[in-house]
């Protein structure tokens, strides 16, 4: 893998990991992610749309959440969703991040507030992300 590819992948893992769990990745995670993409045949975008989607998420990390939200409903099989899904699996099987997944649950009030907050945020993300996604899809 070329140095530029390694650097790009490092930025991608960093951006996606912060998006998914709010923490920076470990170097080990970056390596595992690169291996996983190669193993699963996800190393390269299959369509121009996938390429544009990934580039946008990479250049504008703040857009990742909006694009993911829009893709969840409008482009489920996009490369962005697939790569995020793989990273979620890798994060979950990494001891450094394990407590995020196997810790005890928060209390009921925190759950209610958390669900409300996350739901509102997801709704707003969709409103902003859907036009972005459609623009990326129809950009020649």
């Amino acid at each position: 893998m070329a140095d530029s590819d390694v650097a790009r992948l490092g930025r991608e893992v960093s951006s996606f990991t912060r998006y998914l769990v709010g923490r920076p990745p470990t170097q080990r995670l970056v390596l595992r992610y690169a291996e996983a993409l190669a193993t699963l045949g996800l190393a390269h975008p299959a369509t121009a749309f996938d390429g544009r989607l990934l580039r946008t998420a990479l250049v504008h990390p703040f857009a990742t959440e909006m694009l993911d939200t829009a893709c969840a409903l409008l482009a489920k099989d996009s490369l962005l969703r697939r790569r995020l899904f793989v990273l979620a699996g890798l994060l979950e099987t990494e001891p450094t991040f394990a407590e995020l997944f196997v810790g005890q649950p928060p209390g009921r009030i925190r759950i209610a507030v958390g669900l409300l907050g996350a739901g509102t945020r997801a709704g707003l993300s969709f409103i902003l992300g859907a036009p972005m996604l459609l623009a990326l899809r129809w950009t020649s």
């Binding site: 996983a36 899904f85 979620a88 699996g89 099987t93 001891p95 997944f101 649950p105 669900l115």
Partner: protein, 536 residues
């Protein structure tokens, strides 16, 4: 006297045990594939400890080829864990097939499909025996024998009143936190639930709670789903190891059984060495087919030269749904780490007196599954999905729903030879009657209404394609009618005098209750009658 047993699965090892006990010699013919030597072992440590400390956990949670990451049509709960993947034969290992929507999983592995079974060990009810040429009283002594061999834990609770509990039942497994609360809620509801047709109890599982010289007691590591770090969960391999210590038993691995012929009061079995393709024959006084479905039927059809749809045999499978649920009383409540990851509770839902309308369900807690897999089932942004599922996970339960199935004109299996090279191809046509599908749908809705009364809210019903339950039955069915390719009440395959069937092929229908315990008992029974026959 010696007997050839084809296959090494749950039925084959039980039949072999019975035959050896009766003083016969047994040679077991088996493809016997095993996990690759590179497959990592499963550490004998708890789920929480492994998750927080083992840097190599990806090997057994996701697999070295990341086969545990479900893409495309693979749905959550539709795949064996990475350490068990060798149990299901790959497309390259199995004969070519045309099965339409029917999911036909076959095992060529040593120990067969039960090397990855969920260990559910429930006997049939008296009224499930309508299509059998014998009744529960005939099978009960064999349930008892199997129970002692494989070690079944369970409670003598409400469910035991509906199902005849074997005497040899070991003390029940400890329940995990959500399941203990759910069972308590059911008991509080008492008669109201039973009036709705719902019976709930602890799952009867072939998981030992009592240590013995050959078996470990359950360590409650919450890793039982992922692999076998010990011998607490029954696998046919544990019996095979014991069988191999007996000098009257011989395991012949790497052999595919092709066809048989009765010659001069004996049976000749043609086999093919899988490594070299070399063909040879084995002779014995009798043959026991226990090559699972469709293996046993394929051998029988080939032996009679019955090719084509006009010589099809029946095939049954459980209609199966997978239902993630939210158990509201567990929201925000802590859970214990000490638990077994297999089914916690079993439900029998009987909307009316007809046994074919009954539903059997197992209740699992999602505790030791991986959260990210749930993301696939929800149209949510992943960050939101991870946040939501992390909060809700202790309250997530999975209910699996199995319906009974009966043979029908639209449910057939046959083999066909291609015109050109003579390559055999498996064919399955499986069409369920629309009225039955509708009735099952209504029954499931009634079940879910009862579960909601207990605080268990179904979130989504994932209906699976026929065959997804990996429970198949009925291709060489026990029958009182003297018809070719059916079994006599004793288990002998018609029209042969020296060939017996000891797997799920012999069950004349697919009960709602998981069939493995019953097929093992029936294998014991068939072997018993075979031994009687040879003694004559």
């Amino acid at each position: 006297m010696n007997v050839l047993v084809v296959g090494s699965g749950a039925g084959a090892v039980q039949a072999s045990l019975e035959l050896l006990e009766r003083g016969l010699r047994v040679r077991m013919v088996d493809m016997g594939t095993r996990a690759s030597p590179a497959t990592p072992g499963l550490p004998a440590r708890g789920f929480h400890e492994l998750r927080t400390s083992d840097p190599e956990q990806q090997d057994y949670f996701l697999g070295r080829e990341l086969e545990g990451i479900p893409f495309d049509d693979i749905r959550t709960g539709n795949k064996l864990p990475p350490l068990k993947k060798h149990v299901i034969a790959s497309d390259a290992e199995r004969p070519p097939s045309e099965t339409g929507d029917f999911v036909l999983n076959q095992s060529l592995s040593r120990g067969g499909l039960a090397m990855s079974w969920g260990a559910g060990a429930m006997p049939l009810r008296e009224n499930d025996f309508g299509a059998f040429p014998y009744g529960l009283a005939d099978l009960a002594p064999y349930y008892e024998k199997v129970c002692r061999t494989i070690g079944v834990s369970g409670d003598k609770d409400d469910l035991a009143e509906r199902l005849q509990a074997p005497e040899a039942l070991q003390s029940p497994l400890e329940l995990d936190t959500p399941s203990a609360r759910l069972l308590a809620a059911y008991r509080r509801a008492g008669r109201r639930m039973r009036d709705r047709g719902l019976t709930m109890g602890r799952a009867w599982l072939a998981v030992t709670t009592e240590e013995s010289p050959n078996r470990d007691a359950c360590a409650y590591n919450d890793m039982e789903f992922w692999g076998d770090a010990d011998t607490a969960v029954y696998r046919p391999e544990w019996t095979l190891r014991e069988l191999e210590k007996n000098e009257a038993f011989e395991y012949l691995g790497g052999l595919e059984a092709l066809s048989f012929e009765e010659v001069g009061g004996r049976v000749r079995l043609d086999v093919c060495e899988t490594a070299t393709g070399e063909r040879s024959s084995l002779e014995a006084d009798a043959l026991v087919l226990s090559a699972s479905i469709p293996g046993s039927a394929r051998i029988a059809l080939r032996s009679l030269g019955r090719f084509g749809a006009e010589h099809s045999v029946p095939i049954c499978t459980n209609a199966y749904s997978y239902v993630p649920c939210l158990y509201l009383p567990m929201l925000g409540r802590p859970v214990r780490d000490r638990r077994c990851s297999l089914a916690q509770l079993s439900l029998l839902f009987e909307p009316d007196a007809d046994p074919s309308h009954a539903i059997f369900s197992s209740v699992f807690t999602y505790r030791s599954m991986l959260t990210f897999k749930l993301l696939k089932e929800a149209p949510l942004p992943y960050r939101f999905g991870l946040d939501v599922f992390r909060m809700l996970l202790p309250a997530m339960m999975i209910v699996t729903v199995f319906h009974a199935d009966e043979p029908g004109a639209g449910k057939r299996y046959w083999i066909e030879k291609d015109d050109g090279g003579g390559v055999e191809r498996d064919h399955i046509r499986y069409e369920e009657d629309a009225a039955i599908t509708l009735r099952r749908d209504r029954t499931e809705k009634s079940l879910f209404a009862s579960l909601r009364k207990l605080g268990l809210l179904p979130i989504k019903r994932i209906r699976r394609a026929p065959g997804s339950a990996i429970h198949y039955a009925g291709s060489l069915p026990l029958s009182a009618r003297d018809t070719e390719l059916t079994c006599t009440g004793e288990g002998r395959l018609r029209p042969f005098s020296r060939v017996w069937v000891a797997d799920a092929s012999a069950l004349p229908m697919m009960p709602a209750v998981p069939p493995t315990f019953t097929l093992m008992a029936n294998a014991r029974r068939a072997a018993h009658h075979l031994a009687d026959e040879l003694a004559r």
